[in-house]
């Protein structure tokens, strides 16, 4: 009896393993660094792709631990989508070096640098670490402009079509739908922000230039004295004086920074601290790339009113 049970359990395990294996057959395995890229890849790839994001939405994308479990994912990936511009320089190279997968290495057929064709902002003319954590190719937070989302989508689309030409029509249809939805939504988001065009705000870290350009805000200073350097008392004092002088009322902060410094400045100026999402899945209601801007715009409008 016990031998029969053992055989049954072994058979069941084998069947489950086979089912799990075959159910993923035919789908392209896509690994992305950030959930924003994951969301766009899902919207373009639809049922034809199985997408996994390494970072979560509430995690600082500059600092992700290159855990070996990610190597396992990358070793099986057909496509790897990265923000690029050295945003992930601290964790993507060791993962790719150990992935044993030539398809997704830089220059490989499945390697997607999502920044390709994105018009970059804040490209430095000189580079020194004395300036803090600067990005020598330009500010890498470009996905925070929804119109750049279309460029990202096209970059992903081109790779999917190259690797899976049989489903080209599906990818094309998904890309068209994505682009149209994003265009329509962007008009609404921009229109909502129009009355507040030119509003001066303070940010914790320099990650909003694309967002501020699209939605007409003006980030005039940061709580960090230099990118990546924690706020200092002299910097906070400078910001407090600026806020009082220029009647600035909003401090925006990302979910992965603590609000202590921002709260301190807000207390001394009567300002408001607004936590904006920098990525999809930063909170439960942000499930797609569209939700990201719905959420951020609604948070800002609530604070600005």
């Amino acid at each position: 009896m016990s031998r029969e049970r053992t055989r049954f359990a072994a058979g069941l395990t084998l069947a489950c393993t086979l089912f799990a294996y075959t159910s993923g057959l035919g789908q392209l395995k896509v690994v992305t660094t950030l959930p924003d890229l994951e969301s766009i890849a899902k919207l373009i790839g639809g049922e034809q792709v199985d997408v996994y994001s390494i970072a979560t939405g509430f995690q600082n994308p500059h600092f992700v631990d290159p855990k070996p479990s990610y190597i396992l994912r990358l070793s099986r990936a057909d496509v790897f989508v990265t923000v690029g511009l050295d945003l992930e320089i601290g964790w993507v190279p060791p993962l790719l070096n150990s992935a044993r997968n030539s398809r997704i290495q830089k220059g490989g057929e499945g390697y997607v640098d999502a920044s390709t064709n994105v018009p970059l902002l804040q490209v430095p003319t000189s580079a020194s670490r004395a300036q803090g954590d600067i990005h020598i190719y330009g500010n890498p937070h470009y996905w925070l402009d929804p119109l750049n989302g279309k460029i990202i989508a096209r970059n992903i689309f081109e790779t999917l079509v190259r690797l899976d030409p049989d489903h080209r029509s599906i990818y094309e249809s998904n890309l068209k739908k994505f682009t149209e939805t994003l265009d329509a939504k962007t008009k609404v988001w921009v229109a909502k922000m129009l009355p507040y065009s030119g509003t001066k705000i303070i940010a914790y870290h320099n990650e909003w230039p694309y967002f501020e350009q699209r939605f007409g805000l003006q980030v005039v200073d940061f709580l960090e004295p230099k990118p990546g350097i924690p706020p200092t008392s002299s910097q906070l004092l400078k910001v407090i004086n600026e806020m009082k002088r220029d009647q600035i009322k909003i401090i925006i902060i990302s979910p992965y920074f603590t609000t202590e410094s921002a709260d301190l400045v807000a207390r001394n100026t009567g300002g408001k601290v607004v936590t904006l999402a920098t990525s999809v899945a930063a909170s439960e209601q942000i499930k797609t790339y569209f939700d990201l801007f719905d959420y951020d715009i609604s948070q800002l409008l609530e604070a600005l009113r």
């Binding site: 600082n60 992700v64 396992l72 064709n117």
Partner: protein, 385 residues
């Protein structure tokens, strides 16, 4: 007549007001349409055709990544004639690049001063060619490297939390661990539970200086090292790694040394505030069998366990316990307890202050206060987890 005049005036005023309102409405509509036009243009610009040439996203150079890391140390020891030491321990110069689509290469030169002679020496510590695209989840490394025996041995000193390596590494290998020249092949082992399991096998000769356990040898007996790494994600915030190591190779007495090791690493780091808080517990045990004569095998062991807690973005506290024998002398033993305070202003600079008490059964006990400053420039390849 008056009434007629009043009506005319009212009509005139209404016309004026109406035309002003219309003008206002027109200007708003114009502003909106301009904005939408601008947005439309941006949208069109933001949808490049497939044929468009991508803008370069890296400097047009095939130069490798080059970095230099300095390691300055000071110490005070309670025994000995020269109690205070202050010296530049080492400059590590690393050169890394992909060779071609199939492999990458790394060279690491160490410029250090011999504390006894005062002479500056240069050593090639690492020179490797590593495959990027072997089939069957294999990866091959050729050259000179640090073999995968445990967790600490593979590190370069600047990446280890404490000022120097645990006593067991010093006593059984060398102050910077063990090096070897040969080949290393690793395989990601497929398993039904889909956790990360990596099996590594390395063969070659012991590199650098002969150490207490191993020498390059004068016969065809080679150094063989094996390691099985098992990595588990316990949750989003915590991981556990358990490793098993084994090695065998020639020793300075003309016989063989066989060493087994087990390592365990637990890490906790909240994803959301991952740069602000973390906790690591790491332990290793080592069991050595060193044949000293045809009839005698020296059985010794050693190990360490440390914890490190990051309580602020830049501040870390640590504690370590070491115990260690000596591979060639089963009677000698020592143990040590250390406390560490580490300040890391950025990822390019580390200042560490450590207090250590060492208890030895073959000599006087002593205390030490150690200070280390690590600073790096250039592009240094990110470390493994």
């Amino acid at each position: 007549m008056n009434l007629f005049r009043i009506i005319r005036i009212l009509l005139f005023v209404l016309c004026l007001v109406g035309s002003d309102a219309a003008a206002q409405m027109d200007s708003t509509a114009v502003a909106d349409s301009l904005l939408l036009l601008q947005l439309q243009r941006s949208m069109q610009q933001a949808a490049p055709s497939i044929q468009q040439q991508p803008a370069p996203r890296s400097s047009l150079s095939t130069n490798p990544d080059i970095s230099a890391i300095g390691d300055f140390r000071s110490s005070y020891t309670t025994i000995g004639k020269r109690k205070v030491e202050t010296y530049f321990n080492e400059l590590e110069l690393q050169v890394v690049s992909v060779v071609d689509p199939y492999a990458r290469a790394e060279f690491l030169f160490s410029f250090g001063k011999d504390l006894n002679t005062g002479e500056l020496g240069i050593e090639l510590e690492v020179a490797t060619l590593t495959s990027l695209s072997l089939p069957y989840q294999l990866q091959l490394t050729l050259g000179k490297f640090k073999p995968v025996f445990g967790k600490v041995n593979i590190l370069h000193p600047h990446y280890f939390s404490f000022v120097d390596f645990p006593r067991v590494i010093n006593n059984y290998f060398d102050s910077e661990g063990m090096f070897m020249e040969g080949a290393s092949i690793s395989w990601l082992v497929p398993n039904p539970y889909d956790f990360y399991q990596e099996l590594t096998f390395e063969v070659g000769r012991a590199g650098s200086e002969p150490n207490a356990s191993l020498v390059p040898g004068e016969t065809d007996q080679l150094l063989c090292v094996g390691h099985l790494k098992n990595f588990f994600d316990l949750s989003q915030n915590s991981t556990l790694e358990i490793g098993f190591s084994g090695l065998t190779g020639p020793n300075r007495l003309g016989f063989s040394t066989f060493i087994e090791g087990v390592d365990l690493t637990y890490k906790w780091k909240p994803l959301r505030y991952n740069v602000l808080q973390s906790f690591t517990w790491q332990s290793e045990l080592l069991f050595a069998n060193m044949r000293s004569t045809d009839a005698e095998v020296l059985r010794t062991n050693g190990g360490f366990s440390f914890i490190e807690y990051q309580f602020e973005k830049r501040w870390f506290l640590g504690a370590r316990y070491d115990f260690s024998g000596f591979p060639d002398d089963a009677t000698r033993k020592e143990q040590a307890a250390s406390l560490l305070l580490r300040f890391q202003p950025t990822e390019f600079q580390i200042l560490a202050l450590e207090y250590r008490f060492t208890d030895r059964n073959y000599d006087r006990d002593f205390s030490q206060v150690l200070l280390r400053a690590i600073f790096g420039i250039g592009t240094h390849a990110a470390h493994q987890y």
